[in-house]
Symmetry: C3
Subunit: 134 residues, 3 copies
Amino acid sequence: MIISKRLSIHTPKQSCLIDITESIKQIVEMSTIENGQITVFVPHTTAGITINENADPDVLKDMLYGLSKIVPNDVMFKHLEGNSTAHIKSSLMGSSVTLLVVNKQCQLGVWQSVYLCEFDGPRVREYQIQLIGD
Amino acid sequence: MIISKRLSIHTPKQSCLIDITESIKQIVEMSTIENGQITVFVPHTTAGITINENADPDVLKDMLYGLSKIVPNDVMFKHLEGNSTAHIKSSLMGSSVTLLVVNKQCQLGVWQSVYLCEFDGPRVREYQIQLIGD
Amino acid sequence: MIISKRLSIHTPKQSCLIDITESIKQIVEMSTIENGQITVFVPHTTAGITINENADPDVLKDMLYGLSKIVPNDVMFKHLEGNSTAHIKSSLMGSSVTLLVVNKQCQLGVWQSVYLCEFDGPRVREYQIQLIGD
């Protein structure tokens, strides 16, 4: 069985990490699938998706700060929109994550949440969730 | 239903991003699968795969330039082949991407293409596509 | 058919790459699935997973050294546990990899192995393998 759903979200800042875990878990809970996998895909090129800590919000601040140090703006960038750092950060984080479902439970670790990574906001962003399994 | 296909491509430069989107979409179009997912896997350790912008070619130049700044060569590298930066860049980009198929449509965003990332070319590179669904 | 298995491993150092390829191949060999895909998921936020070279161990040393240069510690990090670099490195590597199975063969390249990436050890770490296919 395959269930697909497209959702959208408003990102409030230029760079931010938005916790979308609950919207993913809801699809698992509302389905009859007991075992399988969920893919969450972001159809943008200046936003990505990652999994990281959900306990101390300072981790998220350090991730965004760390990424800004890893990918600083550079006078050699040629793209006229001026958002090349956002494109590079998006590829570093990736455009999808895959979660596993076992015995009706989404197999995230205790400290893990799924974050849509905005690197060129604020904007309305979309993400597509697909649950595949038995 | 599961469809698998192995393709190869010539990469013309030491570092380059090759758009392989059409070869992926063709497999979706030629199959009877209406909903499911496609995984594209690169069986190399100095080449990766990513999704990014297909409109302005300057984005691709900035990505390659940005990656060369993020992962500069270093006198401390020990690997005698001298291509440690290519190994690291490959892991940063990743060895696979997953795309979703919904109602027979590959769910890439308007500005998204899939790129095989060559970091130690020119070479002949392979990639494996697998489409799984109903 | 879907087969899921959770394994654990002891990571001996603060930063290290542990080859878990054999444990993944065993699940393919012991199953009757001929075509499909395997997802390996790491339920931690200071450990990740990647695919890279299995021949020269210097590549692994250079990867860990290179990552330490890409993500240095920084006085501006706020997270009190002091392991923000491990969180960032984990998101750079990612929390899952996907492998393809075609005609009962795991489609890894000749030089590829799957590595659990420890960035805040030593610890006991878990990983979940799921094989889905026909």
